[in-house]
Amino acid sequence: MSRSESTRETQAPPRNSWLSTEIVAPFVVFVAAILLWEGLVLFFKPPVFILPAPHQIWQSFAANASNLIAYGLNTFLEALGGFIVGCGLGLLVAMAVARFRLLAEVFVPIAVASNSVPILAMAPIAIVWFGIGPQSKIAIVAVMCFFPTMVSTVRGLMSTSPDAVALMRSYAASDWQIFAKLRVPTALPFIFNAFKICTAVSMIGAIVAEFFGGAVNYLGVYIKTEANILRTPNAWAAIMVACAFGMAFYLAIVMLEHVLMPWHREPS
């Protein structure tokens, strides 16, 4: 369609590298939010145990940094473990399900329905089965990651256009070649969408699962105990550590996405 025929009068948006849109803008917002928070606390002077000021949280963190980071790492490893198990299983099951349409008809609706079940409420059962250690948290995170990954991957694998498949057949491509060269690349955007959601889910899931019980050197347990005795700056410091791990996890997946999907443009 020529330019004169189209009704697009404005210029195309300037091309930024992925670095600026995904990092700089949120960073600016973050700094602004911190300043706003400090301002609000200064003005309204709420009691410390209700809403501490950012600088108090920072002091809390600084006083306890090595511990907090260690706890954060422990919790992160739970999240990572659950992510790997859950997403890995999700991918495998999805591949099996996509292969056999019949399985898809049965399992995808179940997976979608499981969306409505509060999986975190099952944390106590995981603790009963796997003990109070990290395994129970890994199990819960794995279940939380499994379903979205499976559903997204199945959708992605089955989203190839019939014409594209017909083209492959016209080259007498084997089923495996069609799978590896067509279905998998088509599914990658869907898979990474699910992965990105799961990074947040896994970190939050690990922390909240720890609310149901866990050892003291884990972030979730620390947050709960500190909050219960009203040492809120400590709890907030721990939350910040959790956020930092969560964002790092997310960015790692984004970088992996850029490596594996160099052709992909961010949808606006």
Partner: protein, 282 residues
């Protein structure tokens, strides 16, 4: 929007050749359920799994009907579930309405969009559920009634998906459709109610379904910190504490919590089916 489908005749829904679709699905699920039951009891027998880890299904059933001083267990659990449900629904409604209004504001006043949307998105990065203990304790100290922190968590969890999705729905209007309205010299309210709003409804329901589950989870998690008296979350905590003595009870509480989530989700999904009648089966 409409796409040209090169069909010769209009499509009418055809009846299935063998069983009606819903019946076939139901049977498949019943078979699945039966398989689960068999696997359950079989693995208990084969691997000698103790009751406190995997109770007999009968024990779970029995736990539901065990009488207590306050009444049969199932009634207690139901009341508590209803309490939690109320917290979740309150938050859901408040968060949903707020999110919707924000989206409408953003569409009509682009200044607010540029200014506030980054904050809305940033709010998503704060894991509200992880802060639940602090919210509950903090608001409790301020003297708020116990249901307020839980409803707040539910509202927060609903607000974000609703805002983002409704905004996308209101803005994703087909360019030609807007031109059409312009050619009718339609007023802004007319464009909103006759074009943007119906266009956004499917998006709204996608968000509501996510928010339904999230609200339930949020309300339950809000009941975990020490000091909560009512709600299914409290029962779950009790159940896990007494699990070795009363193996079926913990599972019963979790079944009740799951039922809550499923029912809430189903209500929203049903509402979607009735309101968004025009979507073809994908």
């Amino acid at each position: 929007m409409t796409r040209s489908i090169a069909r010769v005749e209009p499509i009418r829904p055809t009846a299935s050749r063998t069983l009606p679709r819903w019946l076939a699905r139901l049977l498949v699920y019943l078979v699945f359920l039966l398989a689960v039951v068999i696997l359950w009891e079989a693995s208990k027998a084969i691997f000698a799994i103790p009751d406190y880890k995997l109770p007999h299904l009968a024990q779970i059933g029995e736990a539901f009907f065990r009488p207590t001083p306050k009444g049969p267990t199932w009634l207690i659990l139901l009341t508590d579930a209803a309490y939690t449900m109320l917290e979740a629904v309150t938050g859901f409604v408040v968060g949903g309405i707020t999110g919707f209004l924000f989206a409408v504001l953003f569409v009509h006043a682009p200044v607010t969009r540029r200014g506030l949307l980054p904050f809305v998105i940033a709010s998503q990065t704060v894991p509200i559920i992880a802060i639940a203990p602090m919210i509950v304790v903090g608001l409790g100290q301020l003297g708020a009634p116990p249901w307020v922190p839980k409803a707040s968590i539910a509202a927060y969890l609903t607000f974000f998906p609703v805002t983002i999705n409704v905004l996308r729905g209101l803005e994703s209007v087909n360019r030609d459709a807007l031109m059409l309205m312009k050619s009718y010299a339609a007023t802004h309210p007319q464009i909103f109610f006759k074009l943007r709003l119906p266009n956004a409804t499917p998006y709204l329901f996608t968000a509501l379904k996510i928010a339904a589950t999230a609200s339930v989870i949020g309300a339950i998690i809000g009941e975990l910190p020490v000091g909560s008296k009512h709600g299914i979350g409290v029962q779950i905590v009790i159940g896990s504490q007494y699990n070795t003595f009363n193996p079926g009870f913990l599972w019963a509480t979790i079944v009740m919590a799951s039922l809550m989530g499923i029912v809430f989700y189903a209500v929203v999904a049903l509402a979607e089916k009735r309101i968004v009648k025009w979507k073809r089966e994908t």
